[in-house]
Subunit: 217 residues, 2 copies
DNA sequence: TAAAAATGTTATCAAGTTGTAAAAACAAAA
DNA sequence: TTTTGTTTTTACAACTTGATAACATTTTTA
């Protein structure tokens, strides 16, 4: 039904969660610390992550920032209100306070999947083809080497095509909500994409706002 | 800012919720039983309902079924797990277990509003078409180049169509509340829009006041 | 009616924005 | 460590914008 990653360091709880998810038909994978989680998610696609906040290595928030894009339910300690609020304001899809009832976990997982499960896997227009899973970009049939930042930016632009995105919004979506850098950084990366992928006509400048990817030129 | 209906029979709690929502800028209305809630929601539109489950008259679930369509956050007793699950499976947007922290209520309200509050995405009348997402304006099918100020002004006029807006109000909405400049600046931009987009008939001058965009000419 | 007030219209240029290349800073690999 | 590749910052040229002034026209008022 859905590919779910369970990031939880307590082995018994991790197993309990997976058993219940599997009972209702989901494919589950277990990891037990933050670094493992980030590594795996860079290799494979998941429909949903159940992400404990208190983890060895990177904590849940750090993992969330690095893997942006995958729908996430945080698992928090019951009494940690600020964590719960922080999770939601960072853009998590939901959270569950431990200890939780399995029935509730399943209901929330289903709710989040219903909301989020229709991701785009690839995009093609004219001479450009993008595979979001393998993170490969083809221009006129040729595989182009894109740097991570270039790809992330292109992905955000394409998935929000025909929408004018401000530099601030792009910094949020590509660099992370807590990144504080020069908005000119965005401009420089835009120029790289335009040049490398012949996107001069497709990536439009929206004066005083930012940029917009146009599907139909 | 959103119109929120608070359905909660305990007067003190109802008031507490409303006070906090108002503090962050929402418009609140209170009702104290299920029948009242259904009646009011058939007359008026709300952006969100905070709906207690244990209510005199109709209970929260019955109210929810009768008014389907308005985004809803259920308020449940902490220990009533089955109610929480039932709410979510019925299609509620979220629930909160009582007693809850106000900070968390506000975070959840914001999250639900973000998900559900769909802005006007486009506007069309006669030869004019405006796409607010891409910030593109079409006149007789042709893409017209609008400057940022022109677009912002047009957007405000159209989203407040059939309402006379004073120059001061327009300066507030388009230039920002802290802008101190000549109100004649508004006039100049109005002329540009009229000329560029053939809006001589649609953007009416309201003498001694300001301007009004008329949807039906 | 004529004077006064409000609005229409046009041109201008300083201030601000973006394109671009190159340098600097940073990170990963050898 | 050095090398290599990536990202950010800097610097400046090129470009866009929009507030204002100045004058024309229209509307109100006395």
């Amino acid at each position: 039904m859905a590919e779910i990653l369970v990031v939880e360091d307590e082995i018994a709880i991790n197993e309990l969660i997976r058993r219940n998810l599997q009972l209702v038909g989901h494919q589950c994978t277990a990891v037990f610390d933050g670094n493992e989680a980030v590594d795996l998610m860079q290799q494979r696609h998941f429909d949903l992550v159940l992400l404990d906040i208190m983890l060895p290595g990177l904590d849940g928030f750090e993992v969330f920032q690095q893997i942006r894009g995958t729908p996430t339910i945080f698992l928090t300690a019951r009494n940690s209100l600020s964590d719960r609020v922080k999770g939601l304001t960072m853009g998590a899809d939901d959270y569950l306070a431990k200890p939780f009832e399995m029935l509730e976990l399943l209901a929330r997982v289903d709710a989040v999947l219903r909301r989020t499960q229709k991701e785009e896997k690839a995009f093609t227009c004219e001479h450009l083809h993008i595979d979001f899973n393998s993170r490969q970009v083809f221009y006129q049939g040729e595989l182009m080497g894109c740097t991570p930042k270039e790809f992330d930016l292109l992905e955000v632009l394409v998935k929000n095509r025909n929408i004018a995105l401000s530099r601030e919004k792009l910094l949020d979506l590509v660099w992370g909500y807590d990144y504080f850098g020069d908005t000119r950084t965005v401009d420089v990366h835009i120029q790289k994409l335009r040049k490398k992928l012949g996107l001069e006509e497709r990536i439009k400048t929206v004066y005083k706002i930012g940029y917009r990817f146009e599907a139909q030129p």
